[in-house]
Symmetry: C2
Subunit: 447 residues, 2 copies
Amino acid sequence: MMHSHSVSSCSLPGAAAADGRSEGGSGRRGPDVHTTTLDNGLDIVVIPDRRVPVVTHMVWYRNGSGDDPLRKSGIAHFLEHLMFKGTEKHPAGTFSHLVASLGGQENAFTSYDYTAYYQRIAREHLGTMMAFEADRMTGLVLDDSAVDPERLVVLEERRMRTDTDPAAQLSEALAAALYTHNPYGTPIIGWQHEIETLDRHDALAYYGRFYTPENAILVVAGDVGADEVVALAQETYGRIPARGERPRRERAREPLPVASKRVSIADARVEQPYLQRAWLAPSVRTQAGAEAYALELLAEILGGGQTSLLYRHLVLDQGVAVNAGASYHATMLDDSRFDVYAVPAPGVTLEALDAAVGQVIAHLVDNGVSAPELARARTRFIAEMIYAQDSQVHMAHIYGSALAIGETVADVQQWTARIEAVDAEAVREAARRFLSRPHTAGFLLPA
Amino acid sequence: MMHSHSVSSCSLPGAAAADGRSEGGSGRRGPDVHTTTLDNGLDIVVIPDRRVPVVTHMVWYRNGSGDDPLRKSGIAHFLEHLMFKGTEKHPAGTFSHLVASLGGQENAFTSYDYTAYYQRIAREHLGTMMAFEADRMTGLVLDDSAVDPERLVVLEERRMRTDTDPAAQLSEALAAALYTHNPYGTPIIGWQHEIETLDRHDALAYYGRFYTPENAILVVAGDVGADEVVALAQETYGRIPARGERPRRERAREPLPVASKRVSIADARVEQPYLQRAWLAPSVRTQAGAEAYALELLAEILGGGQTSLLYRHLVLDQGVAVNAGASYHATMLDDSRFDVYAVPAPGVTLEALDAAVGQVIAHLVDNGVSAPELARARTRFIAEMIYAQDSQVHMAHIYGSALAIGETVADVQQWTARIEAVDAEAVREAARRFLSRPHTAGFLLPA
């Protein structure tokens, strides 16, 4: 088996600067993205990238671990593994072997809100990739001799990534404390005792429910025209019968937190303690107005790199931390989270550092952000987005993840303009509204 | 409307001393409980109590808030309210009016694992009660003009009980942090934003699924013979057609905690701060051996009244608390919890008190319990159980709640013997095993 898997613990920042005209008025434009939908409901996105004769072929399904049924946590990820077990037409290993023999790369990943499969390959093999990927959208064959060993693989993956790593355990516990009702509190890979029970019937039931043309998004980026992509897709994916409707996503919404929480792990294996704070915050899908864009810039200003407020105050000025930062992910189906972390300098307790973090945030809420600070953050943030466009796979990922949570191509293309429209008052208001909510702290400590 | 409702936040200790012979060899026996099952699957339990010409008529359903479907939290409790909205045969208010006019009392309650309805009434009206209760097992009529106002009643109930009370908010947040995956983390009454969406269709779908003869237990305690009860039940409940099988309960199991958690609420309305600690602990249904019985005695020894370890150490000896105690509920379908609380003396911080609580527990784990200490706790605990038998309603409750979670009449009747079989080493081992798990603390503080 040549393929590899990854479990994304969160989605990428769903951002693409498709229209760079406001960047100094250069007039540079983003890619001319083409979209269409086949008769069977399959959405198609084509992103031209003519620099090298290579294509990225991705299929995104609008289901992730957040859609795992009751008592079946981990099934989305488990099925991602099982999707490499072959079909009647293409027995196990055939697809991966083909990709490798053609000099391509492949991968698959499962996140909270989506699951995706992709190959990066020479352009002339795009049709073949489609034929194989379309085949496993409906033709997956699973028997216990394939499923049972793969369950052990996943359990070992969980053991290696989480159970032997106190930081990963803290991350799981923090998510579970922050999200008490919404499924983002359950790890993507699933809880061990539930993974242990997942069987062939669970996998096939889940596959039958979610792996349908209506639920899929084909994203092709690279050296190929939209007409050609659609024609190839029609011959392959287009032959899959429609199911009639897209499967429903039923997500429980997290209630607003009323209590402050702290989750602690003390473990002999911890060499470097640190603390986190996480706040429930709206996503681009749950925001009432444009809060998600303000939160992106707030994360940049508060904790994006060594010029950020947290880094300057805690590391450079006060010397209580050796590192500090913040992050936020807008591209989530349900309420997202705003995260801050800080790594204490030697001799500084996490309690003292936590208080110092609180002061930096309080200062921001009280005083707001200056115009130059905002301008710097915006420039940095947009530059990162534009830089990300340089990767064909990343571009495909940006569109695929956005569409998988219900955003449109227009939303992606207007992202930069929406970030640019955020003013200092909106950033301060986002801090005031969302960072004053009770937060969940995580403390990682030596035994 | 004469009826009242109650939301039990947890089940009663499921305990009955049915065989008192070992109590000084008095030879006194518990009631001669009769059980049978009708052809349609309805279980019947008859508990003779001939002291006064009164009966307690209860119907227990094997579904509680822990069985609420995804995004429908609160539906079990909401339906309990709606069960008083009448049937075609007996329009709204008729049943309650009848009970009151016959000098009876009625009530209903919803817990995590069951929902129950009961009347306490003169013995000659038992058949009438059965006719009315059987009628509303299948004949409930709901229209929006009844459902919509009742939703407002429930929302107001939630507002009054929880949202305006920091202690109740802490209790909800603590449960949600302790139970991150199992439904005991969701309040029985439901989360407000989900209660707001519950409608007639949700209520009828839930009613159709769970209110069936196979899912019900009829418990009659009082001045009536088993033959008479069964004959009356046959004429009333016996006419309800079987559904074929009992509805399935699908509960997610809580993973073992790996992180310590603390949940805090600071609120200007708090006059008396306190702290809690809660540990995930097996119930009588999830225990591997006899841990639940040892945990009952551990709670008694650690925190049952003013002779308990916590009270003696924290209140009497150290003077750091004005009150302290512990509790544990064995009669739960899923993993239960072991709880400790302490109320600080003036000037003592919750952190300092928490450390003192930890020392009392560590001392117990290190040194175990003495034989006289255990004997005193056992005597006190069993005496409480026997005293509880004096209440006809309580006796019916003990059997109903035990059977609703899958215990048998024999389990209830052997309860005392199982408590008596717990030795000092079992108590210490329960403390060592379960109280050394990471716990979830709750801190209630003034603003």
